[in-house]
C-alpha cells in the first residue's frame, strides 16, 4: 500500500526522522489554520499518488493567509492526471541549500536490503541512474545484521554529501532503516533530503510503501486503508474481500490464482480483446466467493462478457459451478459468462452448469477456446 506524502511524513516522524512542521487540510479554511500554525511562508501541496504534481500546479508557496486561501482553493478539486485533489499538506517552507536522495528497499536479486544515497536529489532517481550512475552510492545491508552508524557515515561520505550534512544525514539514514524494517515497508524514499542554510538536514518529501502482508502487526494501518484511492469497482471488491484491480477493457475476468489470472488477461488480449479487470479469487474459493466476484464484475458498466477461468486445486470446481448458479439467481448478471473448468472435480462442476437453464453460461473445454468465445461475445454485443 502506497502512502500519501502527509501519511509518509507522519510515519517518518514516528521514527524520529525530521520533517517540516505542517498539517493536513481538507478545506480552504483548514489550510489557512494549518498555515497559521506552521508559520509563513508555507508550501501548499496537493496530496495525490502520482508524479509531476509540481508541474501540474499542485505545489505552491504562500506568504500569508490570503495567499494560502487563494492557493488552497485553486488546488483543492484540481485534476492531476486523473487524480482529483481532495486533501492538502500545508507545511512551513524550508530554505534549501542542497538537495540529496536517500532510500531503502529490498534488492530481490541480492536478497538483501539495498540502501541508495545520492548527492543529486530533487530529480527523478531513475534519471540520475541513467545519466550519472556514479552519483548514486549503493550499499547492501544483511537483514540479519542491520546497518551500523559507522556504515551510515561511510555511505553519506562516499555519496559526496557536503561536510555540514554528513552527521545529520547519517543519523537520518539510521532512522530511515528503522522505519523500513520495524515499520514493515517495501520502500522508504526521501527525495529530496535537504540541507538548510542553518546546517540542518531533514526530509522534504516522503515516499512510503507499506508491506500489506505485515498488516497483522500494524492495526493502525487500517486508517491508511480508508484513504486509499480506489475506484467504485475496487471499493466494492475490497468490501467483499476480493483481490481485484480495475482495468479498462470489456471482458470481465475471474480466475483462481494470481498467475492464472494474469495469464487469462494475456490470452484475452491474444484473442483480440482486452480485460476489464484482474480478479484472483484465490485458492479454496467457494460458492460465496464466486458469487461475490460475479457481482463485482457485473457492477462494471464497461463489461460485455465475463470469462471465468478456473483450474481447481484446493478450489473445487463444483463449488465454483454452484457459485455461478447462485449468483445468476441472486443478481441480474447482464453479460454472458464463458466458463472453463479444469482440475479438482471438474466433471461434477460441468454437470452442474449443463443442467442450468438460464442460458447465461457457455462452457468451453480449454482456456484458449474460452478466451476466443468471450472476446467474440464482447465484440458482438
Amino acid at each position: 500500500m502506497d502512502l500519501f506524502e502527509y501519511q509518509g511524513k507522519q510515519y517518518f516522524a514516528r521514527f524520529g526522522i525530521p520533517v517540516s512542521p505542517g498539517g493536513v487540510a481538507y478545506s480552504v479554511q483548514e489550510a489557512v489554520d494549518q498555515a497559521d500554525k506552521a508559520g509563513y511562508p508555507v508550501v501548499v501541496k496537493a496530496q495525490v499518488q502520482v508524479g509531476g504534481r509540481g508541474k501540474a500546479g499542485g505545489i505552491k508557496i504562500a506568504e500569508n493567509a490570503d495567499q494560502t486561501r487563494e492557493q488552497a482553493s485553486n488546488i483543492l478539486g484540481m485534476d492531476i492526471k486523473g487524480h482529483i485533489v481532495k486533501c492538502l499538506w500545508v507545511e512551513h517552507a524550508s530554505d534549501i541549500d542542497k538537495e540529496y536522495y536517500a532510500s531503502f528497499t529490498l534488492d530481490r536479486s541480492a536478497k538483501k536490503h539495498l540502501c541508495m544515497v545520492s548527492s543529486k536529489g530533487g530529480v527523478e532517481i531513475e534519471q540520475v541512474a541513467l545519466e550519472d550512475p556514479g552519483a548514486i552510492v549503493k550499499f547492501h545491508v544483511d537483514p540479519t545484521v542491520g546497518i551500523t552508524i559507522e556504515q551510515a557515515r561511510q555511505i553519506v561520505k562516499d555519496a559526496n554529501l557536503d561536510a555540514p550534512a554528513l552527521e545529520g544525514a547519517a543519523d537520518i539514514l539510521m532512522k530511515l532503516y528503522e522505519c523500513f524494517t520495524k515499520g514493515d515497508c517495501d520502500l522508504v524514499e526521501v527525495n529530496p533530503l535537504i540541507l538548510t542554510p542553518e546546517g540542518k538536514v531533514h526530509a522534504l518529501d516522503a515516499k512510503v510503501t507499506l508491506d500489506d502482508n505485515a498488516m497483522f502487526r500494524h492495526p493502525e494501518w487500517q486508517e491508511y486503508r480508508k484513504t486509499e484511492e480506489l475506484d467504485e469497482r475496487e471499493q466494492l471488491a475490497r468490501e467483499k474481500g476480493l483481490n481485484y484491480i480495475g482495468l479498462s477493457g470489456e471482458v470481465g475476468i475471474i480466475a483462481n490464482g494470481a498467475g492464472l489470472a494474469m495469464s487469462t488477461l494475456d490470452v484475452v488480449n491474444q484473442a483480440g480483446g482486452s480485460a476489464a479487470n484482474f480478479l484472483d479469487i484465490g485458492g479454496g474459493a467457494n460458492a460465496d466467493v464466486m458469487a461475490s466476484a460475479l457481482e463485482v464484475i457485473n457492477s462494471d458498466k464497461a463489461v460485455r462478457s465475463i470469462f471465468v477461468n478456473i483450474f481447481g486445486g484446493i478450489t473445487r470446481c463444483e463449488e465454483v459451478a454452484n457459485g455461478i448458479i447462485e449468483a445468476i439467481g441472486r443478481v441480474d448478471i447482464s453479460s454472458p459468462i464463458v466458463l472453463r473448468l479444469d482440475g479438482t472435480n471438474a466433471k461434477e462442476g460441468r454437470e452442474i452448469i449443463a443442467s442450468d437453464t438460464s442460458g447465461k453460461v457457455i462452457s468451453k473445454p480449454t482456456m484458449l477456446e474460452a478466451a476466443r468465445a468471450a472476446v467474440e461475445l464482447a465484440k458482438g454485443k
Partner: protein, 294 residues
C-alpha cells in the same frame, strides 16, 4: 530420477492439526508420500488419522528420522516454523504459506544461507513439489501429474503450475519433478537452483519454466541457461498485459518503473535459446514437439 525429493523422502507436517495441514498432509500421504509425523506445539501424543503428532520438530525427527518438512502454518508463525525445522536438521523445507511479511522473509532467507547452508527452503507462497509416482509435498493435486518423465517443470505461480502439468499430462508427456518456487519477493529456491538440478538429473531431458512479471529472476535464469544448460527449455511468462505499478496478486508480481516487464523477460530467454510461448497451451504444444525430437 527426480530432484530434491524421491520415494525415500521422509516428511513431517508442521501444522498438521490445522484444517489445511490435515487436508493436504493426508492427501500427500494418500498419494504415497512417506508422511511420518506431524508437529503442533501442545498436541504431542495425539494423532491425525494415524499420523503421530509431536510438540517440536526435534522430537519428530528423533522418533521418525524425517529429513523433510512441509510447513502449513499461518504467516505469523511460518518464519519461526521454518527456522525450527532448520535447527532440527531438516534438509528440505516446503512452505506453502502465503502472506509472510517481506522483512521476515528476507531475514529467514539470510539466516538459512548464513547458518544452515545445507537446508533448502522451497517457497514460501508456493504449491510445493511433486515427483510424480514418488513423492508429493504441498497442495498440488496428484492426479494431474504423469510419472516417468522426461520433463522437469519449475514455476513461480501456483495455478499455472497445475496448468503446465495438465497441458503435458493430457498429451502423454510425463514429468520427473515439478517445483513451484512461489510468487514472493524472496523465494528460498530460485529458478537457477532448479534448472541446475534438472541439468544434472539424467532422467530429465527437457525443462518447462513458468515465470511472471516482477523482479529479474527470469533474466538471471536466462543467463544461466545460456551458459550452463545443454537441455532444451520451453518457457512461458505470465503478465504481458499487466499494467505497471499494480501488484498482480503475488507480492512479487509487480512491474516497477521499466523493470520486471514480461517483454524484457521473454527477450532475455529467447536470446538464451529458450523457446518462449505466448500462453500455457502453446508452451505445452512446444514441449510435446521438443520431447518428440529427443
Amino acid at each position: 530420477m527426480s530432484i530434491f525429493v524421491d520415494e525415500n523422502t521422509k516428511v513431517i507436517v508442521q501444522g498438521i492439526t490445522g484444517s489445511q495441514g490435515r487436508f493436504h498432509g493426508l492427501r500427500n500421504r494418500d498419494y504415497g508420500t512417506k508422511v511420518l509425523a506431524g508437529v503442533t506445539p501442545g498436541k504431542a501424543g495425539t494423532d491425525v488419522d494415524g499420523v503421530p503428532v509431536f510438540d517440536t520438530v526435534v522430537d519428530a525427527v528423533d522418533k521418525t528420522g524425517a529429513d523433510t518438512s512441509f510447513v502449513v502454518v499461518p504467516p505469523k508463525f511460518a518464519p519461526d516454523a521454518i527456522l525450527e525445522a532448520a535447527k532440527a536438521g531438516i534438509r528440505l523445507i516446503v512452505c506453502i504459506t502465503e502472506g509472510i511479511p517481506a522483512q521476515d522473509e528476507a531475514k529467514v532467507y539470510n539466516i538459512l544461507v548464513n547458518d544452515y547452508p545445507n537446508t533448502r527452503l522451497i517457497g514460501p507462497n508456493c504449491p510445493g513439489i511433486i515427483s510424480p509416482g514418488k513423492c508429493n509435498i504441498g497442495i498440488t493435486s496428484g492426479d494431474i501429474a504423469l510419472e516417468g518423465g522426461p520433463v522437469g517443470i519449475v514455476s513461480r505461480s501456483g495455478t499455472l503450475t497445475y496448468q503446465a502439468l495438465h497441458e503435458l499430462s493430457m498429451q502423454g508427456v510425463g514429468q520427473t519433478t515439478c517445483v513451484g518456487i512461489g510468487g514472493d519477493p524472496v523465494p528460498g529456491t530460485s529458478f537457477i537452483d532448479c534448472l541446475s538440478e534438472f541439468e544434472k538429473d539424467p532422467q530429465t531431458k527437457a525443462v518447462m519454466m513458468i515465470g511472471e512479471i516482477g523482479g529479474d529472476a527470469e533474466e538471471r535464469a536466462a543467463e544461466f541457461i545460456a551458459k550452463e544448460m545443454s537441455k532444451p527449455v520451453v518457457a512461458y511468462i505470465a503478465g504481458v498485459t499487466a499494467p505497471a505499478g499494480k501488484k498482480m496478486g503475488h507480492a512479487g508480481a509487480i512491474i516497477s518503473g521499466s523493470s520486471g516487464t514480461a517483454q524484457a523477460k521473454m527477450e532475455a530467454l529467447e536470446k538464451a535459446g529458450v523457446q518462449v510461448a505466448p500462453n500455457p497451451t502453446v508452451a505445452g504444444e512446444l514441449m510435446v514437439q521438443v520431447v518428440k525430437a529427443l
